[in-house]
C-alpha cells in the first residue's frame, strides 16, 4: 500500500509537468487549429529564463539586498521567479506567433507544422550558440527534509510542485470560463471566421492564446528545474512530444481534458516504471496511448466535429 501511494505521489508530480505543457498545446490547437510544435522548446526556454531569473534574484539576496530568514527568501525568490519568468516567456510565445505563425495564417496546415518544427530547432540551437553546450543546474528553491507519512516519502518540493500546478490550472480554467477574453477564445475555437464581425481582433486573441500557453510552459519549466535540476537545450524535445500526446488524448482544445490527460500520462509512466524495467517505460506508455486513441479518436473531451467554415 505504501509502495502504491508512493507511486501516486510521484505520478502526481510528473503529471503536473505534462499537464501544464499540454494546456499550451491544447489551447493553441483549440483556438487557432494549429499544432504548435515549438511548444516543447518554449518550455525549455521558460526553464532557462527561470534559471537566470532565480539565479539573479539569489545573487541579489546574497549581497544583502534582502535580509530575511532563508526560508522566506527562497519562497519569495520562487514566487518572483514564477511571475517574472511567466511574463517573459509569454512574450517569447507571442513572438513565436507573430514572427512564425501569423504570416502563415491561411496557408496549408503542413506549412505551419513545419514552421513549428523549425522554430523549435532555432530555439534549441540559439540556446546552444548563446550559452554553449554546458548544462546548467537549477538552484534548489524548495529545499527541505523528506517527510514520512505512513511509509510514503513526501518532499516539500513535491507538495509545492503539485499545488502550484493545480493552482495555475484552476486559474486558467477561471480565465477561460469567466472573463470576456476567455469567452473570445472559446468563440474563436468554435468559429474563428466570424470573430472579427464581433469587433474582436483575431490577432489579439492569437497572441493572448500563445502568451497564456507559454506562461504555463515557463511555470512547468521552473517546477521541472526544481525537481530535476539539470537543464540542457534539448530538454523540451521528448518532453514536449509527450505533453503533445497528452493534449491529443485530452481532446481538441479541452482545457480540462489536457490537464487530466497530462496526469494520466504521468500515472502511466510512473506505474510502468514501478513494475517493469525502466527501459520499457515509454514503449508501454505510448502503446497504451495508442490503444486509447484507437477507441477514442477525438480524445476524452474533444468535440468530434469542427464548425470552422468559410464565410
Amino acid at each position: 500500500m505504501a509502495f502504491f501511494m508512493q507511486q501516486v505521489v510521484n505520478a502526481l508530480q510528473r503529471g503536473s509537468f505534462y499537464a501544464l505543457i499540454a494546456l499550451g498545446y491544447s489551447m493553441v490547437y483549440g483556438v487557432l487549429m494549429l499544432f504548435n510544435f515549438a511548444h516543447g522548446d518554449v518550455f525549455m526556454v521558460g526553464a532557462y529564463i527561470g534559471f537566470f531569473v532565480s539565479s539573479g534574484l539569489l545573487a541579489l539576496s546574497a549581497v544583502g539586498f534582502l535580509s530575511l530568514p532563508t526560508g522566506v527568501t527562497l519562497a519569495l525568490v520562487l514566487v518572483l521567479t514564477l511571475i517574472i519568468s511567466m511574463l517573459l516567456n509569454s512574450v517569447v510565445g507571442m513572438l513565436v506567433e507573430r514572427i512564425g505563425y501569423r504570416p502563415l495564417r491561411g496557408a496549408p496546415r503542413a506549412s505551419a507544422a513545419i514552421t513549428g518544427l523549425m522554430i523549435g530547432i532555432i530555439l534549441e540551437t540559439s540556446n546552444l550558440a548563446l550559452l554553449g553546450a554546458q548544462r546548467r543546474s537549477f538552484p534548489d528553491l524548495i529545499p527541505g527534509e523528506t517527510i514520512h507519512v505512513l511509509g510514503v516519502n513526501i518532499t516539500p518540493k513535491k507538495i509545492v510542485i503539485v499545488a502550484v500546478s493545480l493552482l495555475l490550472m484552476f486559474g486558467l480554467h477561471l480565465f477561460v470560463r469567466r472573463t470576456k477574453w476567455g469567452m473570445a477564445m472559446r468563440a474563436m475555437a468554435y468559429d474563428y471566421v466570424v470573430v472579427p464581425l464581433m469587433g474582436v481582433s483575431i490577432n489579439t486573441i492569437a497572441l493572448l492564446t500563445f502568451g497564456l500557453g507559454s506562461a504555463l510552459a515557463a511555470a512547468a519549466g521552473i517546477l521541472y528545474g526544481v525537481a530535476y535540476p539539470v537543464l540542457d537545450p534539448y530538454m523540451g524535445v521528448l518532453f514536449g512530444w509527450k505533453a503533445f500526446v497528452a493534449a491529443i488524448v485530452g481532446g481538441r482544445g479541452s482545457v480540462l481534458g489536457a490537464g487530466l490527460a497530462g496526469f494520466l500520462l504521468g500515472f502511466i509512466e510512473i506505474f510502468v516504471a514501478a513494475f517493469l524495467p525502466s527501459t520499457m517505460r515509454d514503449l508501454i506508455a505510448f502503446s497504451i496511448i495508442l490503444v486509447i486513441l484507437t477507441f477514442r479518436p477525438h480524445g476524452f473531451f474533444g468535440e468530434p466535429y469542427s464548425a470552422q467554415l468559410r464565410l
Binding site: K180, M183, A187, V193, L197, M198, L311
Partner: protein, 237 residues
Amino acid sequence: MLLSVENLAVSYDRIKALHGISFEVEEGEIVCIIGANGAGKSTTLRAISRMLPVEKGTRMTFGGQDLLSYPADKVVSELGVSHVPEGRRLFANLTVMENLKLAAFARTDPRGIERDMERVFGIFSRLKERIGQKAGTLSGGEQQMLAVGRALVSARRLMLLDEPSMGLAPLLMRSVFEALEGINREGTTILVVEQNARMALHFAQRGYVLESGNLVLEGRSEELLANPEVKAAYLGG
C-alpha cells in the same frame, strides 16, 4: 452619403464574383440587393465588412472614411458597421448572453452596452427567457433573433443583413422584419441582401438587382416591384 461603393470587384481564387459594382446607401435608409443564388450578394456584404480582400480599383467609403484602411474588427468597433452573416453563424458553444456579451467585446461604455442589451430583450423577449441557454440549442427563429441582437449590440450605424428571412416561417419572418423596421426607425441604416425579393422590396425603400456579379437594375421598391423583368425573374411572374 453614409456608404459609398465604387467599382467593387472581388475574385475567389481565379473566379470573379463581382465585376466592379457601384451603389450607395444614405443615412437612415433601408436598401436591399436582390439576386439569384450565386449572384454575389453575400460577397458584396463580406467585402464591405472587410472579410474579403477586394481588387485594385475598388473604392469604398463609410461616413467619409476610407473603408479599405480598416481591418474587419475595426469596421465594427470603430466605424459602427455590423454584419449578420449568412447562416447566422452564432457561437453554438456559448450561451445567448455570452453571444451578446462577445458582440460588445470592443465597447468601452458599460452603460451603453446595458441599454443596448435591454433594447434587444425588449425587441426579442424570447431571448430574455433563454439567456443561459446554449445558442446551438435555440430554434431557427430564435437563432435569427440572436444574430440580429448580436449585431445591434456590436454596432448600430449600419447593419448589413444577409438573408434574414432564410429558414423562417412566414409569421416569424414578418415579426423579424417588423423588429428590423423598428431598429431602423431608431436610427440604424440597413443594407439587406435577399433571395426573397418580394419580402425584401416590401421592407426596403430602394433596391438593386444583382446578376452574376453585375448590378443590372436599381430603383425605388415600388418601381422594382412593378418592373416586368423583376416580376418575371424574381417575383414568380
